[in-house]
């Protein structure tokens, strides 16, 4: 069941903490509420995959700069943190990670889905490549997988409403919500997190890939 604007609003201040949805900050409800969604803004940090010195993405190599990666591993990712008034130019065909300004905590009976906004879609901006689903119980910022499908660079800056999130009430509460999931890797992130696919058992258990 897709939540309407009033359903989302009620969940934001619900008296039962188990049912409460947290999205903070709501800077302007009038601007952010759609009939069945809530607009989300772009944060200050971006990460792009370096392709000059990288022949291919190794399946078991950390992409994150924060995981003590060195040398060629570190070259995979370049972090760009803008000032609040800064600009980021997304070039045609470019793929970067970014995150929502808003921080979320979903109750165990709600799932979410991040989508683009029509105004930005018309400029060629895609906000997720494939992973737009938000698990029940998830907490943290949401990751944008930004790409420019147009033929001109797109100027972006923190605070722009480039996406929207809709919420689905499930028929029952999840038995194993995201924080309890054994393989949860991105819980309570306050900034964008690069892929941690190397921690997936089917990757980690197979050891090093061929060079």
């Amino acid at each position: 069941m897709l939540l309407s604007d009033i359903d989302i609003a009620k969940r934001l201040v619900h008296p039962d903490p188990q049912l409460r949805l947290i999205v903070t900050p709501i800077i302007s409800a009038a601007e952010q509420f759609g009939p069945s969604s809530l607009d989300v803004r772009l944060s200050t940090d971006f990460q792009r995959l370096e392709n000059i010195n990288t022949p291919y993405l190794k399946i078991d190599t950390p992409h994150s700069e924060e995981q003590n990666a060195t040398g060629a591993q570190k070259a995979y990712a370049e972090r760009v943190i803008l000032s609040a008034g800064g600009h980021f130019y997304l070039h045609p065909g470019e793929f970067v990670l970014a995150s929502t300004l808003e921080w979320f905590r979903l109750p165990d009976d709600l799932a979410g889905r991040i989508e683009g906004r029509s105004s930005w879609g018309r400029r060629g901006l895609l906000v997720h490549a494939t992973a737009g689903f938000v698990d029940p119980g998830f907490a943290g910022v949401l990751t944008f997988e930004l790409s420019n499908a147009g033929r001109l660079p797109i100027e972006l800056r923190p605070g722009l409403r480039i996406g929207q999130v809709c919420f689905f009430q499930m028929l029952s509460r999840s038995l194993i919500p995201y924080p309890k999931k054994r393989s949860a890797k991105y819980f309570e992130a306050t900034t964008l997190e690069a892929s941690k696919a190397e921690f997936d058992p089917e990757v980690a258990d197979r050891g090093q890939s061929t060079p």
Partner: protein, 166 residues
């Protein structure tokens, strides 16, 4: 240092001193027009309230004016057949959050750290069967989690003020 170099430096220093001296009165006048922000009791009250939010591990960049109970009641009073669009927007705007001051965020962080330190240390290190390196890693991750929440909160406030800048 060569004598001529020293003389050049002295000459430049003297020129810079004269320039600054001539501007000093103007600079002082401008500084005096700035309103220094003192940290008042109301800032402390806000920081104390934010401390509780931080304890539930969420960012503390902003607050709503009304209470959640009041807003929930207002939302429940809206009816599809009688509520006008203006009325609906008015009630929804109660969900707007106003940014807090950076000093309130940092104070809330320190208040939380001080009030939770003993409990955190006891929970992490006392009577645990894990090794000391595991205990230290657990403690560090708890400290980091709050630090990241504070950093996110400060980021939110800075973007917030940029968005609202006329």
């Amino acid at each position: 240092m060569k004598r001529e170099d020293r003389e050049t430096i002295e000459m430049l220093g003297k020129a810079a001193g004269e320039l600054l001296t001539s501007k000093a009165a103007d600079i002082a006048k401008k500084v005096n027009t700035l309103v220094a922000r003192s940290f008042s009791q109301s800032n402390l009250n806000v920081a104390k309230a934010l401390q509780n939010t931080l304890a539930s591990t969420q960012p503390i960049s902003s607050r709503r004016r009304g209470t959640d109970e009041e807003i929930y009641e207002s939302l429940n009073a809206l009816k599809h057949d009688t509520t006008t669009v203006d009325q609906a927007y008015k009630v929804l705007s109660q969900l707007d959050e106003s940014p807090v001051a950076a000093s309130e965020i940092l104070s809330a962080g320190w208040l939380y750290r001080m009030s939770s330190l003993e409990g955190t240390l006891l929970n992490t290190f006392a009577g645990s069967s894990t090794t000391s390196s595991e205990q230290i890693a657990t403690y560090c991750s708890q400290v980091e989690k709050i630090d990241f929440m504070l950093m996110k909160s400060l980021e939110l406030v800075s973007v917030y003020s940029e968005i609202r800048r006329p």
